[in-house]
């Protein structure tokens, strides 16, 4: 295993769109281990996407299990992930390993249904919410060449948006 170098904006490679993974082989699984080690090497990182280390395939890792008292699925390797439905929206503060010394407010869907493959190619579906859903959306953006910088909302929007959020209906649980 190895800690890989992280691309830092304004590196133009962060803006490119990554390709779907086609071969679920040992070299993929070996890369996933390196990617995970890279994520855990940084302080406080809860997710990472393959293009952040210059590997332009649709692979992300998310693990928000370090946050107490939230609904989450633990360590997740998500390959070729797709959001198949989403509901609600919330503003939250995000930072990024590829954008050091900057945090900004970003609007994300509050609830998502996600379909992805694991590192063996098995298709899985997840219902996610809030912090974990935010982490997945942040990492999936990297696969399309998008950074939190592409989605900033101003501080002044915050109060208004949160007031709106209070009226958002609860999602169906089915």
């Amino acid at each position: 295993m190895a800690v890989l170098d992280i691309l830092v904006y304004p590196d133009p490679r962060l803006k490119q769109v990554s390709k779907p993974v086609e071969h679920f082989d040992d070299s993929l699984r070996s890369f996933v281990l390196d990617l995970e080690e890279t994520m855990r090497a940084g302080p406080g990182g809860v997710g990472i996407a393959a293009p952040q280390v210059g590997y332009f395939e649709r692979i992300v890792i998310v693990d928000v299990s370090g946050k107490p008292k939230i609904k989450q699925h633990g360590r997740l390797v998500l390959i070729n992930p797709e959001i198949i439905s989403q509901e609600g929206s919330a503003v939250g503060r995000e930072g990024c390993l590829s954008v050091p010394e900057y945090t900004g407010n970003v609007t994300r869907a509050k609830f998502i249904t996600l379909r992805a493959q694991d590192e063996f190619g098995k298709i899985c579906e997840f219902q996610m919410e809030r912090y974990e859903a935010r982490a997945v959306q942040h990492e999936m953006d990297h696969l399309d060449g998008l950074l939190l910088l592409d989605r900033l909302v101003s501080r002044r929007d915050l109060f208004r948006r949160q007031s709106q959020e209070a009226t958002t209906p609860k999602p169906k649980t089915s």
Partner: protein, 174 residues
């Protein structure tokens, strides 16, 4: 070597001020750091970190003509410029209520007493002429934890007829 200065300009707002001020600074071989421009009660206000090779007087002379052309008042202070060392807020507090004197002093006095260090404060006066409302958003660091702040704010809100809301800022690093 270039040193850092804080340049503040205030006056009646007109369109084109920022463009002409920053053009003059650029042509005078200044580099800009962080900046905050906001209209307060229809007045133009800006604070600009400016990196400049000369002294306060030389920067004052450089900005003088454009400042006078817009009928602005300006001020230059030598400062210690510290970029890329952001302190992250961990709590956001919103306060609103019928406008009256003393709201800011009461809230910030209580927060300071309970170990809260203010990093950002913004406020607006909205509502109608007959019954204006005061809306304030504060972000900062809760050095003695969130519970003590929440309790103090609730008591203050009850006593003073204000609405307060405290919300942890859980910055996601992905």
């Amino acid at each position: 070597m270039k040193k850092w200065f804080m340049l503040t300009l205030v006056g009646k707002d007109r369109s084109g001020i920022v463009a002409q001020v920053t053009r003059a600074l650029y042509e005078g071989e200044c580099n800009l750091g962080e900046a905050s421009m906001v209209r307060l009660g229809g007045n133009f206000t800006v604070m600009l970190m400016v990196q400049f090779a000369g002294n306060e007087q030389a920067l004052d002379d450089l900005i003088g003509p454009v400042s006078r052309s817009f009928d602005l008042r300006h001020h230059v202070d030598a400062i210690e410029g510290e970029l890329l060392h952001h302190v992250e807020p961990d709590v956001r507090i919103t306060v609103y209520g019928a406008d009256r004197s003393g709201i800011v002093a009461e809230i910030t006095g209580t927060l300071t007493e309970k170990g809260f260090n203010i990093l950002n404060l913004e406020s607006d006066v909205g509502g109608s002429t007959e019954s204006p409302i005061y809306v304030m958003t504060i972000e900062g660091v809760a050095e003695q934890g969130v519970e003590i702040l929440e309790e103090a704010l609730q008591i203050l809100a009850r006593e003073k007829g204000l609405e307060t809301q405290l919300e942890p800022i859980d910055t996601l690093i992905g």
